[in-house]
């Protein structure tokens, strides 16, 4: 939609820094005020740019915000995991601190809430959020479950989809609750969920 396609090389070229400034501003305002509350002129103003400069690049707000979301890494997907870890338990313990930090970030709850709010009225935005913030969580959980089945800590007959929903859903649901979560609580909470799902040993031995 940035119309990058067949733009001729004549005349004054567009400033790539302007693209980024607009995308950043759009994401910030979306997180702060939602898709409806973020106006095009507010986005332009925060980007330090004229309104037409935005309209030349994106024809609709929905598309702009969706691309702004897509231009970010989802924070949870970006955890480098040491694949040589032997057991699922080790793998989980390796992931928990970073995951706890990610879900505790104030912005995480904000993006999640605004995204879900967009579901009804802005499907395109919902779609972008889902792909970049939710699916990575699902995939990580699915990997862990697959390993756990190999190890025998999770029974092979279990309903995988439901189990993933329970893990991811619990985290999302907990994050959205009015009572916030600090980093230490988040770690404890994540371990509790993993344990209940069979990805950590039942013994509450650590901590």
């Amino acid at each position: 939609m940035t119309a990058e396609g067949a733009r001729p090389q004549r005349g004054r070229p567009r400033d790539p820094a302007t693209d980024r400034a607009i995308l950043d501003a759009a994401l910030e305002l979306f997180v702060e005020k939602g898709a409806d509350g973020a106006s095009m002129q507010a986005i332009a103003a925060r980007a330090g740019v004229g309104k037409l400069t935005v309209y030349r690049r994106w024809s609709s707000k929905e598309e702009l915000i969706a691309q702004a979301i897509e231009s970010t890494r989802g924070d949870l997907a970006a955890q480098p995991v040491d694949d040589t870890a032997a057991t699922v338990t080790e793998l989980v313990e390796q992931v928990v601190p970073a995951a706890a930090a990610a879900i505790t970030r104030p912005g995480f709850r904000a993006v999640l809430a605004q995204m879900l709010g967009s579901a009804q009225t802005h499907p395109r935005i919902m779609e972008a959020c889902w792909e970049h913030y939710i699916l990575p969580q699902r995939e990580a959980a699915a990997d862990l479950l697959a390993r756990a089945v190999e190890e025998g800590t999770v029974e092979a007959g279990a309903d995988f989809d439901a189990l993933i929903d329970m893990m991811v859903g619990a985290v999302i649901y907990r994050v959205l609750q009015p009572v916030p979560l600090d980093a230490a609580e988040a770690e404890r909470y994540l371990r509790s969920v993993y344990r209940q799902a069979g990805l950590l040993p039942a013994a509450p031995g650590r901590g």
Copy 2:
């Protein structure tokens, strides 16, 4: 906020049907367009009422929508349960069809999504939704878990809060997913979740 408190008894009394019409219109528009998209004049128009008639009763849109939400039974809390049921399994089987019907209603997803979207920008609305749509689910789940512990199907040491989050969270998360759910799938899904939590026997014998 309806200022019902010290209103003198002289003059023409307010029409209670008008209150209901406004609340219904507000809820409908909130579900359709969200808290920002629902304008006061649209609410008044749909209620077949002058704008002032709305402002006479509610001083702000946030308060009106919050009360509109509070004026609805949460659909899930209203299931009469036969407390004489012997086992948790019977209890769950008794609840599943109604719960499946409730979470499959198109309005359920809409309210949920709009509510969560309001979390960031309209705390008062979030609060009302939480109390009327989420807490009943939690309490029902907690009751079932308590029974299950007595029966021994759920280990006493389990993290109740996390387990409830997983059950409620899974349902919410599943309902919000782009792919909708029909009644039969919802029943199967609910059983899967209950089973994974230990509230139904592992054998997939029924159905």
